[in-house]
């Protein structure tokens, strides 16, 4: 697949259809890829990687590029990434006409931390043939079944469908009937004290690195409230012994209804905090209150929480509408 993708991209470079491409670049290890800009076909041919570790959602990088640069930018998007792309488009954060999308098929990404946890830290390289993951370590070659080391978010994959693209590699996928709300239900069924202590335990590990916010394709504000001394929020974060309470609650509210459930926040968290569960609870509630809504499904449907509808004039009318249902 990787070579086919490279071949086609080189073509696009040569025909001057695109002037740059955003993709995954080889890192220090072959399982440690970096999202990166390729400005030439040579660079791409040498350093572009598409494999089971190409997890990073590249859509957010398009904001700065479409604001600043001229010429078309190619971006590779997995199915889940296309939802983020649509959301950004809907929020006018990117310009569709400056972007060329190649939809790439996704066979569930692997989680390097899970592999290391199972086989030890001294990993030199990892590869996967579809069923089995083969790992070279300092003490020799080891194998593990793929199903044991799939990235958490991929276990609850909501859709293999690319909702937007110019060109698609592989087959057109389907929206999946994922069981992604199961874990939310477990939380909902906890007693309040249990739930409180669950979140407290999880969030107390937060080191305030902001990676979750920085990676989030819904968190694209020109000036984030947490970086804004005037916002009156920034200084709230540190007002009690449990400072990360505020940060996460405020952020969850800011992305409520806009979060596509791409799972990037949890993936990048160095402390493995299951942040997606907070946002997924919002998604579940929104679905239940206002009918099913998937952010990024298309660019026309407005999010239930940020839409004024003529029938919303009065809470009473909303109530009647409920009664009618």
């Amino acid at each position: 697949m990787q070579s086919e993708i490279i071949k086609r991209t080189v073509e696009l470079f040569n025909s001057e259809e695109i002037v740059r491409a955003i993709g995954w670049r080889k890192g220090d290890f072959d399982y440690d890829l970096n999202p990166s800009i390729f400005k030439s076909s040579e660079d791409l041919e040498k350093n572009f990687v598409y494999n089971d570790f190409s997890s990073a959602n590249l859509s957010k990088f398009l904001i700065k590029i479409s604001q600043k640069e001229d010429g078309k930018t190619l971006v590779f998007l997995k199915s889940c990434d296309t939802y983020s792309f649509n959301s950004l488009l809907q929020e006018h954060r990117i310009s569709r006409d400056k972007i060329y999308i190649i939809g790439v098929p996704c066979e569930e990404n692997l989680d390097p931390s899970k592999i290391k946890a199972a086989l030890g830290e001294d990993v030199l390289s990892m590869s996967c043939d579809g069923e089995t993951v083969t790992v070279e370590t300092l003490d020799g070659t080891k194998t593990i079944s793929k199903s044991e080391v799939i990235l958490d978010r991929c276990l609850a994959c909501k859709s293999r469908k690319h909702v937007v693209y110019d060109e698609l590699f592989g087959e057109e996928g389907e929206v999946l009937d994922s069981k992604r709300f199961d874990q939310v239900e477990i939380l909902e069924n906890m007693k309040p004290e249990e739930r409180y202590s669950f979140w407290r335990t999880e969030l107390s590990r937060c080191i305030g690195c902001n990676a979750c916010r920085d990676i989030c394709p819904a968190c694209t504000c020109e000036k984030c409230v947490f970086d804004n001394r005037d916002s009156g929020v920034e200084n709230k974060v540190a007002t009690n012994d449990f400072e990360e309470n505020m940060f996460h609650i405020i952020r969850a509210f800011h992305v409520a209804g806009r979060c596509t459930d791409c799972g990037e926040c949890s993936r990048v968290c160095p402390e493995d905090i299951p942040l997606h569960l907070l946002n997924r609870k919002f998604i579940k509630d929104i679905n239940e209150f206002y009918g099913n809504y998937q952010a990024g499904d298309d660019i026309e449907t407005l999010a239930p929480l940020t839409r004024f509808d003529a029938v919303d004039v009065e809470p009473s009318i909303v109530k009647t509408r409920e009664n009618v249902k």
Partner: protein
């Protein structure tokens, strides 16, 4: 440096009975920025206001906090006082320690603590307040009255008599509303047409009233003094200016079997028709759904016989746009459908009818020219049973929880008129309670019982069973005598509950006017502002606001008209300076704010930004039209970055208040 003055009001004993006002003043005196704090018996009195004015001048106050009643009550009073003393009125805040404290608490200690907390919040806010200057906008000297029943007509006449132009819109081909279908009217029993028709003619002839019948208000934008309405003129296929109302077309039209909605389908009319002989305008209209020419392309008889050539089969809906300063809503009400009430067999027998259908049976313009004959076989009914409260005061999903207000009276009217005209007819009325509060109303009802010998029975029909000869077996219970009754009736008349016109909801959405759960328009204040909707510049007249008889409808219409006139007579209106604005450097142009703005006040502009690296960047940012913004705050909540903010209620001010309360 802040120099804040705090004034704590006793409100007689309204506040001081529950709140230790002296202690509140004393505690708040220690808050940062406060240089003066006192309590006083009536802050809103002239002496109270003078105290504020004197202290502002004497101490050169930079901000004022009044701990008293709700801002809705006296904010304006106090702001004016501050302005008088030379302090911008928006540098004054009120802490509501009456409605939100004294009136809802019993414990003096707790209420006092709460008053202090509310006072602190107001102090924290006022310290962040900025002087604001309201803008001005012009008033369009024209009114739109929606609905031309007796309410809309009265309002239009009054506004026009005051010298302002009025567009009077009705969705039906004729004006007049429900009263056109009523025969005689309680409590005086004068005929509805006799009092209504002259009014309809007055409306038509008034030079300042522009009648727009068979029209629908599609869209309303704008704000008080400057509304823009898009009105759909539905295709009538008859040129109203050319048509003389001679009616020849209606006689010649071969399609004669169309149900006549004016007579509630009790008889038929032709496809081209004039609703009734007194219709205003007296102009024919084609019922497109039944016209052979419009449906099948063949016929054309009416156009052939029309001497003034008024008929145009190629007519189509047209949209017109107009500006208005004030809007009066008068869309009225209608009886509910009674199909769900199976026990009364309305769907099984033509001899079970509604009260409005009974009005048509009694009316001289009705299906039988005013002789009451039962629909199945046109026989003279000898026994008539009336059932009140069908769907009123009904907590099941079939009906309405409220009392429809007029049914007791019109049923008494029906019973009395029937006995008067046909003394050989037995009349029974089943009622839940008799509710007749109104001048001469109880006397009216008693006359029905005592003078006309109507059998009033507290109770209800349990079941109506139609028989093959058209008669109805009525099984009912008499609650006072505790017994079952069996009556063989010729006619059963159901007093159906009243509900707001179904089209009113769309209108409410367009006007952003509130409705209650049942769809009645709500007033701004149930006691003190009964004819104003909470949306400024929109007034309510008649039965669209709640069930009403004619006298109350007319009174309310007059009141709504006078409110509209008070508005139209002004040349300029002061705007509300507490509007939204977006900080461009923080704005993402994401569109969340515009998506939630109920007044479409937000648009987007492309702005050039100088970046720190000396490059320029063009970004889309939000821009608020302050004349359209109502300061509702929806956008500020939707905005993730906090770029959107409201003057006078900034995120910071609100956060300041919350912090002060949580202290």
């Amino acid at each position: 440096m802040q120099k804040i003055g705090v004034f704590v009001c006793h409100c007689g004993t309204n506040i001081s009975a529950t709140v230790d006002v002296a202690k509140v003043a004393e505690t708040l005196a220690k808050e940062p920025g406060v240089i003066y704090s006192t309590d006083y018996q009536f802050m809103c009195s002239l002496a109270g206001q003078n105290l504020i004015i004197d202290k502002i001048k004497e101490l050169d106050l930079t901000g004022v906090v009044i701990c008293s009643c709700s801002p809705r009550m006296h904010e304006l009073t106090f702001r004016k006082a501050a302005d008088k003393a030379g302090l911008n009125g928006f540098l004054l805040e009120m802490a509501n320690i009456r409605e939100q404290d004294a009136w809802v608490h019993k414990d003096r200690e707790e209420a006092t603590l709460k008053a202090v907390a509310l006072g602190r919040a107001a102090i924290a806010k006022v310290a962040l307040n900025e002087a604001l200057i309201p803008g001005e906008s012009k008033v369009t000297k024209r009114a739109l009255v929606i609905g031309a029943g007796i309410a809309g007509m009265q309002a239009a006449l009054d506004i026009a008599d005051a010298g302002f132009s009025v567009d009077l819109v009705d969705i039906e081909p004729t004006i007049g509303g429900l009263m056109t279908q009523v025969d005689k009217t309680f409590p005086t029993l004068d005929c509805a047409s006799c009092i209504l028709t002259p009014k309809m003619v007055d409306v038509q002839q008034h030079e300042l009233i522009n009648l727009m019948t068979f029209c629908e208000v599609e869209k309303v934008e704008g704000y008080i003094g400057n509304f823009i309405a898009t009105i759909k003129k539905k295709a009538r296929y008859v040129d109203p200016d050319a048509c003389t109302g001679c009616g020849l077309c209606t006689q010649k039209c071969p399609t004669k079997n169309v149900l006549n909605s004016f007579n509630l389908n009790l008889d038929n009319r032709s496809a081209i028709y004039i609703p009734f002989p007194q219709a205003v305008p007296l102009v024919a209209i084609i019922d497109a759904a039944h016209c052979k020419k419009l449906q099948e392309g063949k016929c054309g008889v009416c156009a052939a016989v029309c001497a003034p050539k008024a008929i145009h089969y190629d007519d189509c809906d047209k949209l017109v746009e107009n500006k208005y300063g004030a809007i009066v809503v008068a869309t009225g009400f209608n009886p509910i459908e009674v199909h769900a009430f199976n026990e009364f067999a309305y769907d099984q027998s033509p001899n079970v009818i509604t009260s409005l259908e009974y009005e048509r049976l009694m009316s001289a313009t009705g299906p039988n020219g005013g002789t009451v004959l039962r629909p199945s076989d046109k026989k003279h009914p000898k026994t008539i049973v009336f059932q009140q409260c069908v769907g009123s005061r009904d907590t099941t999903s079939r009906g309405k929880t409220y009392c429809s207000g007029i049914c007791c009276m019109y049923t008494a009217k029906h019973a009395m008129l029937t006995r008067e005209k046909y003394p050989d007819t037995d009349v029974y009325v089943f009622y839940t309670d008799i509710r007749t509060p109104g001048k001469g109303f109880d006397e009216f009802h008693r006359r029905a019982v005592e003078q006309y010998g109507v059998h009033y029975i507290k109770g209800s029909i349990g079941k109506v069973v139609p028989m093959s000869n058209g008669n109805l077996k009525v099984q009912a219970s008499d609650l006072l005598m505790q017994r079952q009754l069996h009556i063989e009736a010729d006619l059963v008349v159901l007093a159906a509950a009243m509900e707001p016109d179904k089209s009113a909801k769309h209108l409410a959405q367009q006007l952003t006017a509130s409705m209650d759960n049942d769809g009645w328009f709500t007033e701004s204040h149930p006691k003190l502002r009964p004819v104003e909707s909470p949306t400024a510049g929109v007034f309510l007249a008649g039965a669209c606001q709640g069930p009403k008889d004619i006298p109350s409808t007319v009174a309310q219409a007059g009141a709504a008209a006078s409110k509209a006139i008070i508005l139209l007579i002004k040349d300029k209106l002061k705007g509300n300076p507490c509007v939204a604005h977006s900080a461009e450097n923080m704005c993402n142009g994401c569109g969340a704010c515009a998506n939630v703005c109920p007044y479409s006040a937000i648009t987007y502009v492309e702005k050039e930004f100088r970046m720190p690296d000396r490059t320029t960047l063009i970004r889309r940012v939000a821009s608020v039209n302050p004349a359209v913004c109502q300061g509702c705050g929806a956008c500020t909540v939707a905005c993730p970055s906090g770029a959107m903010d409201i003057f006078g209620f900034s995120n910071k001010q609100i956060m300041g208040e919350v912090d002060a309360i949580c202290q």
